[in-house]
């Protein structure tokens, strides 16, 4: 008999006037002991709602309207509330999406991990602590003996995510519900977490529901896949069948939206016929950060000596892990954060570092597109007013002319003109992002600074936004600085790529050259960390020396040496951590900052996949641990 059977489950919401709106429309699937079932679909597909139903829980405003959820043959939905409470956290455990939001910053990790098991009376405090320590070892967390005494802010995001798994597993649940546990993580951290989850689920023998929208991740961890759209099962079957022989249209569309592995030649080859003489915008020797500036050094330095040029009509992709300073670079260009040293040059003219000292025409030419369209659009203004204001402000158009331009802008981002009379709240995430873009385009800018504009969107919607950006670039000839942590998105769209690490440019050049050898060791790590839509990819990747050396190490922003030193498989001890690496040129504008010559780098890449030099640094981020 299956461990959990979801049988014709129906969940509905109630409108104000009392008419029910179905959210989940008769979903059935089952989970056998020790099996991982993935619920996959985009936002609004009901995947989280269904996964919560396995705890007999619905979000406020929703109610069960039919069907059964049976755990060991016993219906959870009609169970006595007291028994439901016992079941939750004991027999079924839930892992929320954001570990950072789940942990209480004021209580030690050990106490939080063991709390539920002790509270339910399954284990005594000593037994629970012992079991937690076993789990830390199983999850490959560093320093398992003392980890329990630390506070959440003293460990990294990936470690916190794994600690959440420990929290769920302490009470030896029969079923684990994981809600998008790796979605918010960088690719390198994602690998580390996926690997730990997979191992611990296998060792502990518990079954799991894995909720995600990312098919490539599912291919690594799931045994069985349920594809959902709009509260209905579109297709379900073993992972091999769904990944390799999808039969349903929607599954195929999800597959098509999976990011390809970044390789040379993936970008579009259109020649834009721009003269490669003048840069549209350039950053020269930029050092920037937060806090008071003393002698050109900010209190906290985020960017150090950045040189980047964006040619007219070009798309320059800026990539790196979170915290590398890529958004800060765009903010410095826009003048939102004045730089401590260096200058921003727009069409041959040096711009004032601070926004308030730039004139209106300079402001018009450089436009910033914010990451989250949800917060970047004023919820109390009509779309027509949101787009109309920059038209009026920069172009001086009013009345009929303004309305005409607004209609033009809506048309440009492929939205109906009637949207002008809507509020942002009445639009979907992708539509809001289009409005966000249209606002930036309103004043005919020369440079668009796009900060992670597709990161918060579902894969299909994000792919459509990229298509739109490509069309806009061809139509308007505007230059883009496209910031993303997602190498494959950047690779498919950018003419030039800038790789940032800990506030410094480690590699930059034309897309094809950056995505082909020789690579900077960090670029190589990023490329190998992008999940592939292939069963067994995770195991293969973990064999490589990049993964062994570079994953799950703390990032340090340093003034001396190469910041990548402690994660680099080919680091030269004694040199790399002390001296700033020289910038080596390779062909047309391709620069790599490394102490190795490019031949040495290329040779090491071709060579045997092993760690040439084992730099033994404790995985725990020491700096973080020292914080009060």
């Amino acid at each position: 008999m299956a461990l959990l059977e979801v049988d014709n489950l129906k969940i509905q919401a109630m409108k104000d006037d009392g008419t029910p709106v179905p959210i989940v429309k008769g979903v059935s699937f089952e989970i056998k002991a020790g099996e991982v079932v993935a619920l996959i679909g985009e936002s609004g597909s009901g995947k989280t709602t269904i996964s919560l139903a396995s705890l007999a829980y619905t979000k406020p405003g929703l109610e069960f309207s039919g069907g059964e959820v049976r755990l060991h043959g016993e219906d959870l939905l009609t169970m006595d509330p007291l028994k439901q409470r016992d079941m939750r956290g004991q027999r079924v455990a839930y892992l929320a999406q954001s570990a950072a939001a789940t942990f209480n910053p004021a209580i030690t990790i050990g106490e939080q991990v063991t709390e539920s098991a002790v509270l339910h009376g399954i284990l005594s405090q000593e037994e629970a602590t012992k079991r937690a320590e076993e789990l830390y070892v199983a999850l490959e967390l560093p320093d398992p003996d003392r980890l329990g005494g630390r506070y959440p802010h003293q460990v990294s995001g990936g470690q916190l995510q794994r600690l959440m798994a420990a929290m769920a597993l302490v009470g030896k649940p029969d079923l684990l519900v994981l809600d998008e546990p790796t979605t918010a993580l960088d690719v390198t951290t994602q690998i580390e977490v996926l690997k730990a989850f997979k191992k611990v689920i296998r060792e502990q023998g518990s079954a799991a529901i894995y909720v995600t929208h990312d098919l490539a991740v599912v291919a690594q961890v799931a045994d069985h896949i349920v594809v959902l759209y709009s509260g209905e099962v579109q297709e379900q079957g073993p992972v091999d069948q769904i990944i390799n022989h999808p039969t349903h249209d929607y599954t195929r569309r999800l597959m098509a939206a999976v990011r390809p592995t970044p390789t040379a030649g993936m970008g579009d080859d259109t020649e834009h016929g721009h003269g490669r003489s003048e840069a549209a915008i350039a950053a020269r020797g930029i050092t920037a950060g937060y806090g008071g500036i003393v002698d050109g050094e900010p209190a906290v330095t985020i960017l150090r000596d950045i040189n980047v040029e964006v040619e007219r009509g070009d798309v320059v992709g800026v990539i790196g892990e979170s915290g590398c300073g890529k958004s800060t670079l765009a903010r410095v260009m826009a003048g939102l954060l004045p730089s401590a040293r260096g200058e921003i040059v727009l069409g041959g003219k040096t711009l004032a570092p601070a926004l308030k000292d730039r004139d209106r025409d300079e402001l018009r030419k450089v436009q910033f597109v914010f990451q989250m369209a949800d917060t970047a659009l004023n919820p109390r203004q009509y779309i027509g007013d949101i787009l109309g204001r920059p038209v009026e402000f920069y172009l001086g158009l009013t009345g009929q002319e303004k309305r005409k331009r607004v209609a033009e802008l809506l048309d440009m981002v492929e939205l109906p003109i009637a949207f002008a009379e809507r509020f942002p709240m009445e639009l979907s995430g992708g539509q809001k992002q289009r409005i966000n873009l249209a606002r930036a385009l309103a004043g005919n800018p020369e440079v668009l600074l796009c900060d992670e504009v597709t990161s918060a969107l579902d894969s299909i919607v994000g792919a459509n936004v990229i298509k739109l950006l490509t069309a806009l670039r061809n139509k308007t000839g505007v230059s883009f600085v496209f910031i993303s942590h997602d190498l494959s998105t950047v690779g498919s769209f950018a003419d030039k790529i800038v790789v940032l690490y800990a506030g410094r440019v480690v590699e930059q050049g034309p897309t094809d050259q950056v995505l082909s050898p020789p690579y900077h060791p960090y670029t190589r790590l990023l490329i190998t960390s992008v999940p592939e839509l292939r069963i067994g990819w995770l195991e293969d990747t973990m064999q490589t020396r990049e993964a062994a050396a570079g994953i799950a190490r703390g990032v340090e922003i340093t003034a001396v040496g190469c910041p990548f030193f402690n994660r680099c498989p080919i680091a030269i001890p004694g040199t790399c951590q002390l001296e700033v690496p020289p910038v080596r040129l390779h062909g047309d504008g391709h620069q790599i900052a490394c102490h190795h010559t490019l031949d040495e780098v290329e040779e090491s890449e071709a060579g045997p996949q092993q760690i040439l030099h084992g730099y033994e640094k404790p995985i725990m981020d020491d700096d973080a641990a020292k914080k009060p």
Binding site: Y250, A376, R380, Q381, A418, M425, I460
Partner: protein, 335 residues
Amino acid sequence: MSDTSANTEETGAAEKEVDTIDKFAELPDAPPKKGIKLSWVGKVSVAIVAAWVVVAFIGPWIAPFHEAEFIVDDSYVPSGGCPEMLEELFDLDEWTPDAITQYCTESDTILFLGSDYLGRDTFSRIIWGARTTIGISFVATLFAYFVGITLGIGAAVSGGWIDMVLSRFNESILSLPSIMLGLIAVAALGSTIPILIITAALIYATSVFRIARALGQDIMVQDFVEAAHARGEGLWWIITREVLPNAAMPLLTDFGLRLVFVILFISSLSFLGLGVQPPMADWGSMVRENMQGLGYGSYASIWPAVAIGTLTISINLIVDDISAKSGGSLAKKMV
């Protein structure tokens, strides 16, 4: 209303078009925003508050008597009593319901809610008092809002030492008990109506300041405000177009609550004898004046208390209803 329905039809058609292009079109994040629908409790509360507001406006024309007019010679005449009854019966014990029916059904000067301690008509005084109590409180709250929002949003937007000075000053006033502060101000400056209004306004401006500043700070860090900054907008635009519209809903909800506090504050001052001065009728002072009547079984001090209760509780219920419908996060900021 017909305009909006036409619009939704139009956009509905446009959406259908999008649907046919894209079979798996994305769903909007939130359903289209509808007007706030009140529960039946909310509707009853609105009716009560509206009735009191109407009374405050037309009170002097509908009240049977003037607020300062002595109708009968005896104090604490029971509800429904009349001068004719008093001519025959002199003793309190004789004013029974039977006696009232006997003497007063024909009378043309019936005291619906009886008389107060000076023999004035309680019913008329409550109607007159509505104007004083609601009027003073409303003007004082408006004034408190003007001062509180201007300084609060100003502090949030400018930050730095301006924010520092204003906030610390505000906190020092906030730390003093409001009734004490009011007593001192009125005792020193005299209890005229303008002084009462200004005192109440300044005392309650401190809490408005805190809410406005907190809301302002929340909104100032939103991306759309930064977008306006990046566009090159001036401070005035940012405050009036970006910050205030987003603070309006929580501030409006709070206005109701604040009004209640001011009504209670003015009533408390009057109750202590330092508020509205006789012979003007005011609900708070009416409660105090007629307290002794409770000993004689008179309801003369209960009726104005009921008036205060119905008004303040109704406003509270409306506020609860609105903030429950417009999302809990707003309600939390109210406290």
